[in-house]
């Protein structure tokens, strides 16, 4: 794939990458740094990308690996809650759809509940359910078998459901 074509295609996934970065870092400026670093790495290792495979999944994989390398360490340094899950910052509302009180309440609860999930549960859930990636692609990104991905998604939903009930 020519460099120009690669760049053009890579840029098409900017919004999706930023969205995942926001939910991973829970910090606007860190999310931007993460996305920029992701693109820098993608360009540096573009020769490793195999044309015909899923570029979107490949970029998500770079973003997650970068996050795990640089940002998770920082997260671990922050205070941990009793259940070992880091306490998230206040949810961000950049472009929340719908502004009625009920809709805003759902957004807040969802973001808050999602922030309590560990990364290994949160990422596959977001990739599969929100970004619509196939389980095989999610498995490649997570560097684990498809069965593990299914299990994590299932457990993520269980935890999410439990967190949401806490707000009743």
């Amino acid at each position: 794939m020519a460099d120009d074509e690669f760049r053009q295609q890579a840029l098409q996934h900017l919004d999706a990458l930023h969205n995942l970065a926001v939910y991973l870092t829970r910090n606007g400026s860190e999310a931007e740094d993460l996305v920029q670093e992701t693109y820098v790495r993608a360009m540096r290792f573009s020769h490793r990308f195999q044309p015909g495979t899923h570029l979107r999944a490949w970029l998500f994989q770079i973003l997650r690996n970068t996050f795990l390398t640089f940002y998770r360490l920082r997260e671990r340094e922050s205070a941990l809650s009793e259940d070992g899950v880091p306490e998230g910052d206040a949810p961000m509302f950049h472009d929340a759809p719908g502004r009625d009180s009920e809709s805003a309440g759902v957004h807040m609860d969802l973001e808050r509940a999602l922030s309590k999930l560990p990364e290994e549960f949160k990422t596959p859930l977001l990739l599969a359910e929100v970004e619509g990636l196939a389980l095989e692609d999610v498995a490649r990104i997570m560097d684990c078998p498809v069965g593990t991905v299914k299990s994590r998604i299932f457990r993520a939903k269980e935890r999410l459901r439990a967190h949401l009930k806490d707000y009743k």
Partner: protein
């Protein structure tokens, strides 16, 4: 509250749909987009600053041109090279000089008339020298718009000055507009800058009378003066 909506999504599919539909998405801000673009394409030629102004500038110029084309027909136009208008202004300037600085030489005017005719190139077979209402007070050669001619000055009993200028008519054609029937003649009568003018052609000459008689009553009197002058003066060009 919000959680009432959650209960409808207890199943896995429902929770997935809830995430897809209700979880806010965070698109990349423009700053990040620009930074990534710069990182991906460092050699990308940047738009020069003036290029940003080109489209609105062209648009503004095009709009101005269209407005000009649209409004041009309705814009006030310059008088152009209208010889009648030029003569009118020149006669009024002469009349103004007569009013403010003109000499009253009624006692010698008949004596200086031959010299004035000789120098002006306009001879008068007959000349109206006055009556109980108005009298000839001066005569001198003059130049109006490059035309050499003769200038007669009258003054009525109320002190109003009437200037009568006769110059070669050349190709000057008086317009039909403004013509008024006065006795047996149809001269052009017009008001200009607070003065009244009566213009006509006679023997190939252009004759103009100017005065400050502008009200309806005064204008009627001015027309009477015209009749007196017109019927009793016979100019002709010497060459």
């Amino acid at each position: 509250m919000a959680n009432e909506g959650m209960e409808q999504h207890e199943d896995d599919g429902g929770l997935g749909r809830l995430l897809r539909e209700r979880l806010p998405r965070h698109p990349a801000p423009p700053v990040l987009r620009a930074a990534v673009l710069e990182a991906l394409m460092p050699g990308r030629p940047r738009q020069p600053w003036w290029a940003l102004w080109m489209p609105p500038a062209f648009s503004a110029v095009a709009t101005a041109l269209i407005m000009l084309l649209y409004l041009a027909p309705s814009l006030p136009t310059a008088p152009g090279a209208d010889p009648v208008q030029f003569v009118t202004r020149a006669v009024l300037a002469e009349h103004a000089r007569n009013v403010f600085w003109g000499e009253t030489r009624a006692d010698v005017v008949l004596a200086i008339l031959p010299r004035a005719m000789e120098e002006s190139g306009v001879a008068l077979s007959w000349v109206f020298t006055g009556d109980e209402e108005i009298r000839l007070i001066n005569a001198k050669p003059t130049y109006v718009e490059g035309r050499r001619g003769i200038e007669l000055a009258y003054q009525d009993v109320a002190g109003h000055t009437v200037t009568y200028i006769i110059v070669p008519g050349g190709s000057v054609t008086l317009p039909e507009r403004g013509r008024v029937q006065i006795d047996r003649w149809r001269p052009v009568v017009k008001r200009e800058n607070g003065f009244s003018l009566i213009m006509w052609r006679q023997q190939g000459l252009l004759c103009v009378m100017a005065s400050d008689l502008v009200s309806d009553e005064d204008l009627a009197r001015f027309k009477q003066y015209f009749v007196k002058v017109r019927s009793s003066t016979e100019p002709y060009a010497v060459y």
